[in-house]
């Protein structure tokens, strides 16, 4: 079967944060921004619709959400309609699936939306719902949510590689600085290492500012087959490669702690498909759900040697002027992390970066971009590699 080339032709996001808006309001806002990004695009062009969302049954007591979102955006699907759920990596997974559907010829134009309304009037209710992400019968019974999970990952990385609390904090400082320049970001104020230390201790060694926040938000993109791209935009970004690997859900069966071998597999496959190496990547949006995550991702994505992630941030190699600019949009830590929308927002950031529309957070001459989205106990990893030109 012939594999067709596929590009992202439109994209827009809602403002991320603690929003005075419903789930549907957020989807409408992101959809409007997406349509406005490509004036030639109308709802009638869209044949397929995927909604990336994690727990609307919990947060807003709503299921059958893909038709609800399509209807909200004026889309009447003729080739595909479904919801995609892979916890925090739902967004990139939906993009990967839409890519495969278009590349194989089953549809020409697919909208991929992501949305999560996480704030509830009682903050304790939101935290309770996040327990559903863990293995309910064997892990969540102990109260295990994301912060203690990644705190234990950090403890192992610090023990095995000598990673320091300051190196962790530097990730947050960089991403808050970047997010300050991103209009949709939840946090738009730079912070210092001292402020990270002074923020509330959440789960040793992670302070509040080592953690991404609870976020409401939505993001929408449109993918098209090569022969339709020019109908919508002169500024597409092309999918060069994608990779995905999983490792399970129960904490006891996690295939690595300080090591994330499944990320290595996903990255290897994506690099191979794109025909590029880690040193070719100009700009990356990676899954900094916690500061320790970004440090391990430098290593497993091949930006530096195993164990040297702490040094990589310390030496400014993931910052502007360094080897690869990581999380110019502020990452999850600053932009926020509305579960289902995050992977879509990463793609939108890359579309802006590769076409010089990222304002004062622009990475100069960026041509090749990578996004990384993870879920669970850092077991599932999804990578997308985008280029400014077709390949």
């Amino acid at each position: 079967m012939e594999i067709r080339r596929v590009a992202v032709v439109a994209g827009g996001a809602s403002k991320f944060g603690a929003r005075q808006a419903t789930y549907r309001d957020l989807i409408s806002e992101a959809g409007k921004a997406c349509y406005d990004s490509a004036p030639g695009l109308s709802p009638n062009d869209i044949e397929g619709f995927l909604l990336s969302t994690v727990m609307p049954e919990r947060f807003v007591f709503q299921t059958h959400v893909a038709p609800l979102a399509a209807e909200t955006l004026g889309v009447t699907p003729s080739k595909l309609v479904a919801r995609v759920e892979l916890l925090c990596a739902s967004g990139s997974s939906a993009i990967r699936l839409a890519y495969g559907f278009i590349a194989s010829g089953l549809a020409d134009v697919i909208m991929v939306a992501g949305a999560e309304k996480m704030y509830t009037p009682n903050p304790a209710e939101t935290v309770h719902h996040t327990l559903a992400a863990g293995d309910r019968e064997w892990d969540a019974i102990h109260g295990l949510t994301a912060p203690p999970s990644f705190a234990m990952v950090a403890q192992r990385h610090m023990k095995e590689y000598g990673t320091t609390k300051e190196q962790l904090a530097l990730v947050s400082v960089k991403n808050r600085r970047n997010g300050a320049r991103n209009p949709i970001a939840q946090f738009r104020k730079p912070i210092t290492v001292e402020e990270v230390y002074a923020s509330k201790l959440v789960a040793k060694p992670l302070n509040l500012f080592d953690c991404c926040p609870i976020t409401d938000g939505a993001a929408v993109i449109v993918l098209a087959a090569e022969h339709r791209v020019k109908d919508f935009t002169n500024e597409p970004i092309w999918i060069w490669g994608t990779g995905q690997a999983g490792g399970g859900n129960n904490a006891a069966n996690v295939p690595g702690w300080a090591e994330w071998p499944r990320l290595r597999v996903a990255a290897k496959n994506a690099y191979q498909m794109a025909g590029v190496a880690p040193e070719d990547i100009d700009v990356a949006e990676v899954h900094d759900c916690f500061t320790i995550s970004e440090i391990i991702e430098y290593e497993e994505l091949g930006f530096c040697a195993k164990g040297e992630g702490g040094k990589f941030i310390e030496e400014g190699r993931s910052d502007y002027g360094g080897q690869v600019v990581v999380n110019p949009g502020g990452g999850l830590i600053s932009r926020g992390h509305p579960f289902g929308a995050t992977g879509i927002a990463q793609a939108i950031e890359m579309k802006q970066q590769l076409h010089g529309h990222a304002g004062d957070r622009q990475v100069p001459n960026a041509e090749i971009a990578l996004t990384h989205n993870l879920s669970g106990f850092a077991t599932e990893h999804t990578i997308m590699i985008y280029g400014r030109e077709p390949k």
């Binding site: 304790a124 109260g143 201790l201 959440v202 006891a252």
Partner: protein, 150 residues
């Protein structure tokens, strides 16, 4: 709201703990043994694979026949933390948690009880503790506690 609604019947999706009884759960023997102070898991009778958590389908040989075996009462901390903010509503801070490792190499996520920050050390020896689950049903949950000096 009707009288009946306001009585707040049991809502399973707000319950952190699984249903443990034989009428509800094929792994009910795990909980029965735990009530007697024994920590157990399944062993595949076809290939001998010992998983954690216990399971009704062997991921190694796909057999669905298993027997119950006892796990050691003691383990060592592989990684640990104490959560001091943002714990789910039915839990209290400080919430001590660890991944523990048994001599046979099996690992298990568990909460730590009767613990202080001084006990949070990779390699620290811990032993089984059995807790009652508060609420209307008679249920138990496993935990570990630091082994104190001789």
């Amino acid at each position: 709201m009707s009288e009946r609604m306001s009585e707040q019947p049991y809502i399973n999706t707000m319950d952190v703990y699984p249903l443990e009884a034989a009428e509800q759960n094929k792994l009910y023997k795990f909980y029965d043994s735990l009530r007697e102070g024994r920590l157990t898991t399944t062993k595949c009778t076809s290939c001998g694979h010992i998983p954690w958590p216990p399971r009704t389908l062997c991921p190694n040989c796909t057999s669905d026949e298993f027997e119950w075996i006892d796990l050691p009462r003691k383990a060592r901390i592989y990684s640990c933390t104490v959560q001091t903010a943002g714990v789910p509503p039915v839990f209290e801070i400080p919430l001590y948690m660890a991944m523990v490792e048994f001599d046979n190499g099996l690992r298990m996520l568990t909460r730590l009880v009767e613990t202080t920050e001084d006990d949070l050390e990779i390699g620290r020896e811990v032993e089984l503790a059995v807790l009652e689950v508060p609420g209307p049903m008679s249920r138990v949950v496993h935990a570990f506690k630091p082994v104190r000096g001789n």
